[in-house]
């Protein structure tokens, strides 16, 4: 039996999913969408269930990729029971989605989650009464503490094959009800095999939404006619009339089933007086970011040193039987470099970063960051919701590109993804630290970061002029702060880490082996000759050519190979100060790495990805050449 969790954003769905699914869960793209659904097999009360965690949606309209994902799931999957998760402290608003789900004609179990938060707000809910009024089973839970979950799945098991009946109390106003029934008759049956109720499609058509995308021309004409009638008699748009019906019904349900008393004092309400303050909020944000990156860097550097030492020792023992310079040694060495590079150089920084980020996310701080930075981002044509992908970009461009899906417009997704790839990720930070900070001093490294911020801001300003659009503006629910739940944090970290381990790491190893072969065969000379125009333009030695190609695989490969290609770790003895800076700038900005390109294609499509790659390449050349001549003139 197949069960899906569906609910509004921040209702605790994922906490509930995690409480039963644990680590055996997997994520998969639902066919035809970019939305990843988490699913897991769950044994509940002796019954094997396939549980799917759908993305949070406020209603069943289709205006963004998350809603598109839910729609495809409802139309194409063979789900048996829907568990509608509600934040009980926001009962009246949440019931509007419940009423929409009832119309689907599928069995629905209502999960009143966060009952403790409702009590804190002084809201007392009579679950039995609500159940009778809705005609649906209602179960009270506190998912974060595991309360009520057994009962919930017991009820879900019983609900199979029992679609809801319409109780009298939920009838709509007569004229709207008549319009719905007329529409239902004029649908002339549903296209293809379909498990959803005709009434649902009829209501959606009256809302101006051809949910299945397959309504007959006659049905669409009937919808136009009926919408016109509703608009004339109510004096406003038909979708607004229908939304009001649901709103009225949910207010009615709330008044019948809930009582609002005195809220208990809640210290979290005063927290924002500081954290979202117009001065202290920014001070805290800046301190947090500096502290966060400092912590990640210190912890990462310590781990890296430890792991590199261990790997080198292991390689020395392992390769003892191979003659240096032989093909066997070359392959073994490059294979090992790929494995060690992934474990020591990347994982060392990635794990602390992801843990910190998941904590910030789970506590509920990130929406505050979006709130605080919205004004600044507006000046470069974006809005605060874009901050999240850009901040994620400092860790790794891949999750940053995947995070743009929360943005409502295609243009905003493109801009945020492109800007996020320009920000130095942890791999490029390694290059900045190991080349610029190490050879030229930390001041120069700081300069590179500051210059990068200027370029990101300029790019945003420039691209919004190339692709102007009245940004729809920010509209974001800012949820309560909450204590992070360790199992949820760990699962988030694991899911993101798995992307690296399964996709990026094998690439790093493969790239390393290919380079080993190329060098063994002496092909690197041909590649360098081919790239001579580019390296010449940038004023870099020709041997650097092959390292730039491999930077597309992983940016830190460029640096490791630079030392390999120059034949020395004393980079400053071979390259001038301007050359080191030009190399670093070029590596920072040119073409994102292959893992990022893959993520970009998935999120914004191949054409926009090609545009993004072309832009970053052009930008890197302009900045590289500019830096060459400017720094050459300044520093001699």
């Amino acid at each position: 039996m197949k069960v899906a969790l569906i609910g509004q954003p921040n209702c605790g769905k994922s906490t509930l999913f995690n409480a039963v699914a644990g680590y055996r869960s997997a994520t998969a793209n639902f066919p035809g969408t970019t939305v990843r659904l988490a699913w897991s097999r769950v044994r509940a009360n002796g019954c094997l269930m396939e549980l799917v965690d759908l993305p949070g949606v406020y209603s069943l309209t289709t205006a963004n990729p998350a809603e598109e994902g839910v729609k495809r799931f409802l139309l194409d999957s063979d789900v048996d029971v829907l568990i509608n998760v509600l934040d009980a402290s926001l009962l009246s608003r949440s019931l509007e989605l419940t009423l929409e789900l009832r119309e689907l004609g599928l069995p629905v179990v209502v999960c009143l989650n966060m009952m403790d938060e409702a009590a804190r707000k002084g809201i007392a809910i009579d679950a039995e009464k609500l159940s009778a009024l809705l005609g649906l089973p209602v179960v009270e839970t506190i998912a974060a503490r595991g309360v009520g979950i057994r009962e919930l799945f017991l009820r879900a098991g019983k609900a199979q094959g029992q679609p809801p009946a319409t109780p009298e109390s939920l009838a709509w106003h007569r004229d709207v009800e008549t319009a719905v029934q007329t529409m239902e008759r004029r649908l002339n049956g549903l296209p293809g095999p379909n498990r959803l109720a005709a009434r649902f499609f009829a209501v959606k058509l009256l809302e101006g939404d051809d949910f299945s995308g397959q309504a007959s021309p006659a049905a669409r004409a009937a919808a136009r006619e009926l919408r016109g009638e509703l608009e004339r008699s109510h004096g406003r748009a038909a979708e607004s009339v229908i939304m009001s019906e649901r709103h009225d019904r949910s207010m009615h349900l709330f008044e019948k089933a809930a009582r609002v008393g005195r809220p208990r004092p809640d210290f979290r309400l005063v927290l924002d007086n500081f954290l979202a303050h117009h001065v202290w909020g920014y001070v805290f944000l800046l301190a947090l970011l500096v502290g966060f990156f400092y912590a990640v860097f210190t912890l990462g550097a310590a781990l890296e040193e430890m792991l590199l030492g261990a790997f080198e020792g292991a390689f020395a023992r392992w390769s003892a039987g191979l003659a240096a310079g032989s093909l066997g040694f070359t392959v073994a060495k490059s294979l090992w470099d790929g494995v060690a590079g992934g474990a020591a150089v990347v994982l060392s920084y990635l794990v602390p970063f992801l843990v910190g980020l998941a904590l910030l996310e789970d506590v509920g701080y990130l929406p505050r960051v979006a709130y605080l930075t919205d004004g600044l981002l507006h000046r470069i044509g974006l809005h605060g919701t874009s901050t999240l992908p850009i901040i994620l970009g400092y860790g790794c461009s891949v999750p940053a590109c995947l995070a743009v899906r929360v943005l409502p417009s295609r243009r905003d997704r493109f801009l945020a993804a492109l800007l996020a790839t320009l920000v130095p990720c942890s791999a490029r930070s390694t290059v900045i630290f190991a080349l610029v900070a190490f050879y030229l001093g930390p001041g120069w490294a700081f300069g590179v970061y500051a210059f990068n911020v200027v370029v990101v801001i300029f790019s945003g300003w420039f691209l919004t002029r190339l692709w102007p659009e009245v940004s729809p503006g920010m509209l974001l629910e800012v949820p309560r702060y909450q204590w992070p739940i360790p199992s949820v944090v760990l699962r988030k970290v694991w899911l993101r880490l798995r992307e690296f381990i399964l996709v990026a790491w094998p690439l790093l190893i493969g790239g390393s082996v290919v380079l080993g072969f190329i060098e063994y065969l002496g092909w690197d000379r041909a590649v360098n000759a081919g790239l001579a125009p580019l390296t010449g333009l940038l004023g870099l030695p020709a041997v650097v050519g092959v390292t730039l190609i491999f930077g597309v695989l992983r940016k830190e490969l460029s640096m490791l190979m630079l030392m390999q290609a120059l034949g020395t770790t004393q980079v400053a003895a071979v390259l001038t100060v301007p050359q080191i800076l030009v190399f670093t700038l070029f590596v920072t900005f040119y073409i994102p790495c292959i893992a990022t390109i893959t993520a970009l294609v998935k999120e914004i499509g191949a054409r926009l990805t090609a545009a993004a790659v072309a832009y970053t390449f052009a930008l890197a050349i302009v900045l590289g050449v500019g830096a060459r001549f400017l720094l050459g003139a300044l520093l001699g």
């Binding site: 707000k121 101006g208 979202a276 004004g375 507006h378 503006g473 509209l475 974001l476």
Partner: protein, 93 residues
Amino acid sequence: MLQLMTTAHARKTSAREMVSLDAAPAGSRVRVVEVGGGTGLARRLAQLNIRVNQALTVERVAPLGGPILVEAAGASVAVGRSLAHKVKVEVLA
């Protein structure tokens, strides 16, 4: 005297003029009178309980032309300045 009082009262209610949400001061209690900007926007706002006749509390206003944080039926919502401009409200207190 009674007449004076009623005219004063009438003047007071008419003084509750309509302003756009981005012009409502932080800490004020307002009631939504009109949501402009097309049905798509109206729908997105209504999903978060920002709809005609709903009472809102303006919790805080972000600097630098940033969003307005309002409380609507128990939930906090950040509304960008340009969106807030399309929501007309009357200030209750």
